[in-house]
């Protein structure tokens, strides 16, 4: 007995990525997003080799505006701002991407389970999501981080990723509910395929674009949230990040000193990187919407 399917069986991620890329990304804003993210990824990867000085080296004249020796000047400890900026890319990318993946994992699992199982499971899971949505998440993250004794990037990832999956769960659930009514799910069920296999091998591949798009949007938000936490002095105390640079700049009155070279670049990098991820996310969503209309 032949089971009709719209998509090939299995998690053919590479094939599917290729499909959307061919159709929607070229020349669009998505490409710009990829370029921005690629630029910062390269910066993070090569940081050790391209920094002009060690980011912790503190024996230069403090409060220097940009010069040939220090393209972005120095801070009040006499540290090179450009070197810190380059190294700071690592923290944002690592924490943003891993927190995005973690919340993607939780959100997808909750969303698929709720959407496919329906009934009481759905009711309980979605009520939980509704309750958590009402509570101000950033405030909860601040409070949770304040109470966690150990602080480091792993903690940051757990806290941010563990509390950012709510929208993902909602979106995936509604997608799965519409997928569930399609013929291939009934066919698989008649054939006696287990629930878990239907959820993750049959339905999941069809909602991958939505998941990937939402994941990039979660990464966008995670990057900004991490920066906020670091700005408040919460999170990894040793790692250099754009948020912690801004925290120090603010605490040491860089604004009153007119040290724009210290306050503007980290924020600009944060904005650009977050913007890059959101462009990618929206390009994927747009492509998916168009493919659905066809």
């Amino acid at each position: 007995m032949a089971v009709s399917r719209r998509e090939p069986k299995g998690l053919n991620l590479v094939g599917q990525c290729w499909q959307w890329k061919l159709r929607y990304v070229p020349g669009s804003k998505g490409t710009m997003g990829l370029a921005i993210v690629g630029f910062f990824a390269l910066m993070a990867l090569l940081a050790t080799w391209i920094v002009p000085y060690s980011p912790h080296q503190a024996n230069f004249t403090a409060w220097q505006p940009p010069t040939w020796g220090h393209w972005l000047g120095t801070d009040d400890y006499g540290q090179d701002v450009l070197s810190q900026l380059i190294v700071g890319a690592q923290a944002s990318l690592v924490v943003g991407v891993l927190a995005g993946l973690l919340s993607g994992l939780i959100g997808v699992t909750v969303g698929i389970t709720a959407g496919y199982k329906g009934g009481a499971t759905d009711e309980i899971l979605m009520r939980l999501v509704d309750f958590l949505l009402v509570i101000p998440t950033l405030a909860l993250m601040i409070v949770v981080s304040a109470f966690i004794p150990s602080s480091g990037q792993t903690t940051e990832i757990m806290v941010i990723g563990g509390l950012s999956w709510l929208w993902m769960a909602r979106v995936v659930r509604s997608q799965v509910m519409s997928e569930r009514r399609r013929g291939y799910v009934d066919a698989a069920r008649v054939l006696g395929v287990s629930d878990r296999e239907i959820m993750f091998r049959e339905i999941l591949p069809n909602v991958v674009p939505v998941i990937v798009a939402n994941m990039t949007l979660i990464i966008t938000v995670s990057i900004l949230v991490q920066a906020s936490l670091n700005f408040l002095g919460i999170g990894s105390p040793t790692a250099i990040s754009w948020g912690s640079m801004l925290s120090l700049a603010f605490a040491d009155n860089a604004i009153d000193q007119g040290a724009w070279w210290w306050t503007i670049p980290p924020g600009l990098c944060l904005t650009l990187l977050a913007y890059g991820f959101s462009l990618i996310g929206h390009a994927i969503l747009q492509g998916y919407a168009q493919s659905r209309e066809q």
Binding site: P149, L232, L272
Partner: protein, 330 residues
Amino acid sequence: MRFWTLGPYFFKKLMFAIITVWLAITADFALPRLMGGNPALALASKTALGSPAVVKALERAFGLYHTSVLQQYGDFIVQMLHGNLGISYEYYPESVTQVVFSALPYTVGLVLSATVLSFLLGTLLGVVAAWHQGRRVDDWSVGVAFIFFAIPYFWLAMLLVYVFAFLLGWLPMGQALPVSVVPLPPLALGLGIIRHAVLPVASLVLATAASYLLIMRDNMLSVLAEDYMMLARAKGVPNRRLMFRYAARAALLPSFTQLMLSLGSVVGGALVTEVVFSYPGLGNLIYNAILNHDYPVIQGAFLILALSVISANFVADLLYPLLDPRVMLN
């Protein structure tokens, strides 16, 4: 709409609010206990060389005496219902309740005015953008909205301080009240408060209006595709009337739901923004409490914050049937 039809809807929303409140209280109780470590011990080792007497006293103040967790939980709720959230370390002998409630009005004022202004601005821009879909106005507003969406709240606040307070000197750099030796007349005081609130509110509005714009534009686009819009156009309804009376009104309903759901994130943004402006609200309070390991204040401030957001949502849920009677049907 008959009044009695409100019954089940009201009951459902009330239950939701009550359970959310209970969850918030439980989370607030559980947080310091789940995270392991003994805050009393940690604090004592920082301030009193770990003196056992101090540890014991602190444990009592935290409600961490050596009883079962269940009993601690019961005590916590009973104390809370009496309005007792413990004693602040930093502001000793003031109680947490006093400290938190003196900061609350600033945050509420900030969040409410920013939310209203941002919703108006974003929604209006969204209507205009959707109306001119695919044209330059639309492309620009959406493009700019995406950029603003990606700007960290606190950095935007820092930029505004740098430009409008430091470079131009038009507005104060921080604080909420005008500094004066003699008590100010009410009018001057009011103006001073507004002057101090301009930059914090503006940074929140700029940072959040983008998402209202995008949401409203989406909703407008789906309304504009409806048959009744085509009919109205064919009838010769004037453009302005079409845009606001016909389309925007219908598109506003889903935006309102979004408004409520985004309240939590505006509150989060306000917390960080307050720190930039040394604005004496809950954000600043929590920030200082974290720096000083003032755990009871952190716990109390979070609880009051969560309760405020939950009650705001509850009120909005009650008002919603007035805007859209259809919700009563399901």
